[in-house]
């Protein structure tokens, strides 16, 4: 291909893309300093959701767990995509 690569695909821009993402993540956590979370399940005794950054780490960790779980199940369940064609 003769045309120049889109800036999105140029190697030198990769760190910039990561910086933008990390910047956005910091912005998302900032309001934690200003708002007080109310209990989502009033009267249940479950108060973890009112602690600092619960939704941030919960989102990250559960997603990591799901990816790893998928990867693990993939070991047993994956087959070549021509498996059923024979």
């Amino acid at each position: 291909m003769s045309e120049k690569k889109h800036w999105f695909y140029r190697k030198e821009n990769l760190p910039k893309l990561w910086m933008i993402q990390i910047g956005i993540l910091i912005l998302a956590v900032l309001p934690e300093f200003f708002i007080k979370h109310e209990q989502h399940l009033p009267g249940s005794g479950f108060t973890l959701d009112t602690t600092f950054g619960f939704f941030a780490w919960y989102g990250f960790l559960t997603c990591t767990a799901m990816v790893i779980c998928a990867k693990f199940l993939g070991i047993f369940l994956k087959r070549k995509d021509t498996y059923y064609d024979e």
């Binding site: 708002i35 399940l41 919960y58 989102g59 559960t62 997603c63 990816v67 998928a70 087959r79």
Partner: protein, 566 residues
């Protein structure tokens, strides 16, 4: 039976599409899109003018059918089904073949028919027309793979239909009542009805048919398929089994099944098909919770889901049509030459992920809040994790691998204008419902007082989603696409039973050959014996020469002469 309300024009709204569909093959040129848009509008008008309750009572055997039964749930689902038929018709108009368009309208019409069914027999009839219509939509793709997939699809749906019919028969025999109304799964009949509904919803173990069949249809066919069958099942569960607790674990299983399988998948439309199971799982959980908030949540989520899932599949269908490729490993970088399709796909992806100011945010949060208000800590935590997982498997994965990822070097043009218009309409609706949720809230089955836009809710939702996105990019090496399929329950009927079947036919074949061989041998022996005795040279069958007859007559004559003399 409910009271019959008199009405000036009481006609099942679904039948307008089912019967009108047969006009499609005869109309060409500009008349066809007029019909494709006109029929749903006509039916919509009827949906919203029919009085509440039963408008018609048809005698059938010993029962009175009520094919025109209007209630808030039915109206809501009929409305979104008809909007879907209209915009789907616009998307499919020029590219889909006549068979597909006709089948799709029969399919959509029968789904609407279910939403206006006041009794179980009417429901069953439309339920089965739906199975046939959707099979024809898959067929219309015209490929060998589509034909085979449609046969497997029909197999599962006929099984579901038989179970449903058995349940209805048992229920009617036990109670004598055919009314379709809220039930508890406390008798054999009702349990079978529940199973029949769940099979169409993609519940375990029969979840695989969705990802197996839908992606084999044409680009527009998959869009139609994504909307009706599973959501009709949601409607049936919503009206038939609200608050049935068994639905909560079933729904949670579906939610995570969809995520895990979508994460492992390489085919872009199959990713979205798995995500249907995931989304329907949320609705099934909400129906199981059974409060007015959760039932509103399931209804609203189904409404929003049909729009954004169709939008996602329209965007994937456009990519498939313009590139001829469907695997993530072959795609990437398409945002450069298909920016509009990419934008519409991203809007659909944001909506399914429940990003604030989209339709997913204002509808799915009703369901999670309902679990929270009931104090169901585990269910709530799992639904929150699943919400993050939706962003992971559909919200980022689909647009990332199709439109960004590596540069595949493909530079396809944008799809034709009618397809882009359909995507634009649904993109608009995703955002419009997100910003003005009250318009949707007002037509929900129960009165609703809910404010999705609080500071706390916005902050927490953004945090969950953005950190889920971070997990995606941080774990990107683990997400590397491979040329694989993932085994599922369909392995049992695609492989196991087929191997068993082959073995069975080999063995029975051998047995039959052996027995017929020995039988033939015996018969042959018998015939040989008979031949030996009765054949031309046999002792009993040979012909005697006439000279010997003369000799014997002479002997008899001589003997009688001799006897006469003495």
């Amino acid at each position: 039976m409910n009271e019959v309300v008199s009405s000036s024009f009481a006609f099942p709204p679904g039948l307008i599409l089912v019967l009108g569909a047969f006009l499609i093959p005869f109309l060409k040129g500009i008349l066809r899109p007029i019909l494709l848009i006109g029929l749903p509008i006509l039916a919509l008008t009827l949906v919203w003018t029919l009085p509440e309750g039963n408008s018609v009572s048809l005698p059938f055997l010993d029962y009175a059918l009520s094919p025109v039964h209007s209630n808030p749930e039915g109206r809501l689902f009929a409305t979104i089904f008809l909007i879907m038929a209209m915009v789907g018709g616009l998307y499919a108009w020029k590219q889909a073949n006549t068979l597909e368009l006709t089948a799709a309208f029969i399919y959509a019409g029968s789904a609407v028919g279910v939403t206006f069914a006041g009794d179980l027999i009417t429901l069953f009839i439309f339920w089965e027309i739906m199975a046939l219509g959707s099979t024809a939509v898959v067929w219309a793709a015209g490929t060998e793979a589509a034909y085979r997939a449609s046969m497997r699809y029909l197999l599962v749906h006929f099984l579901g239909g038989v179970i449903l019919m058995a349940g209805i028969t048992a229920h009617v025999m036990a109670t004598g009542d055919i009314t379709f109304t809220s039930m508890k799964p406390d008798s054999i009949g009702k349990v079978l009805i529940l199973i029949g509904f769940l099979i169409n919803a993609g519940a375990p173990p029969f979840s695989a048919w969705i990802a197996d069949t839908y992606p084999e249809a044409s680009p527009s066919g998959t869009v139609f398929l994504s909307a009706f069958t599973t959501k009709t099942a949601v409607f049936a569960l919503l009206v038939g089994f609200p608050g049935a607790e068994i639905l909560i674990p079933i729904g949670l299983y579906m939610v995570f099944y969809g995520i895990i399988y979508a994460l492992l998948e390489n085919d872009m439309r199959r990713i979205l098909a798995y995500s249907i199971v995931n989304q329907v799982g949320f609705m099934v959980v909400a129906i199981g919770i059974g409060t007015s908030l959760s039932l509103n949540g399931a209804s609203a989520h189904a409404f929003a889901h049909i729009i954004y899932k169709a939008l996602l599949l329209m965007s994937a269908g456009s990519v498939l049509m313009m590139t001829g490729k469907r695997k993530c490993t072959d795609l990437g970088g398409l945002f450069q030459s298909m920016p509009q399709t990419a934008l519409y796909g991203i809007i659909g992806a944001l909506a399914i992920s429940a990003v604030p100011f989209t339709s997913g945010f204002v509808t799915k949060s009703l369901e999670t809040s309902a679990a929270a208000y009931e104090g169901m800590v585990i269910v709530w935590l799992m639904l929150m994790a699943a919400s993050a997982g939706v962003f992971l498997h559909a919200g980022i994965k689909f647009p990332w691998f199709v439109f960004f990822q590596k540069d595949s070097g493909l530079r396809p043009p944008e799809p034709p204008v009618n397809m882009r218009a359909a995507m634009a309409i649904f993109s608009f609706l995703c955002i419009f419902i997100g910003i003005f949720p009250n318009l949707l809230y007002e037509i929900l089955p129960y009165p609703l007082d809910y404010e999705p836009y609080t500071a706390g809710h916005l902050v927490t939702q953004f945090q969950v989603l953005l950190f889920a996105g971070f997990a995606f990019f941080a774990l990107l090496p683990l997400m590397k696409r491979t040329l694989t399929v993932t085994l599922d329950f369909d392995w049992f009927y695609r492989r196991f039973l087929s191997v068993i079947g082959t073995e069975f036919s080999i063995h029975t074949g051998n047995f039959v050959k052996k027995t017929t061989d020995s039988l033939l041998k015996r018969l042959q022996l018998l015939f040989e014996k008979l031949h030996m005795q009765n054949g031309p040279h046999g002792i009993l069958g040979n012909t005697s020469p006439s000279s010997s007859m003369v000799l014997w007559v002479a002997v008899i004559l001589v003997t009688s002469l001799l006897l006469y003399y003495f």
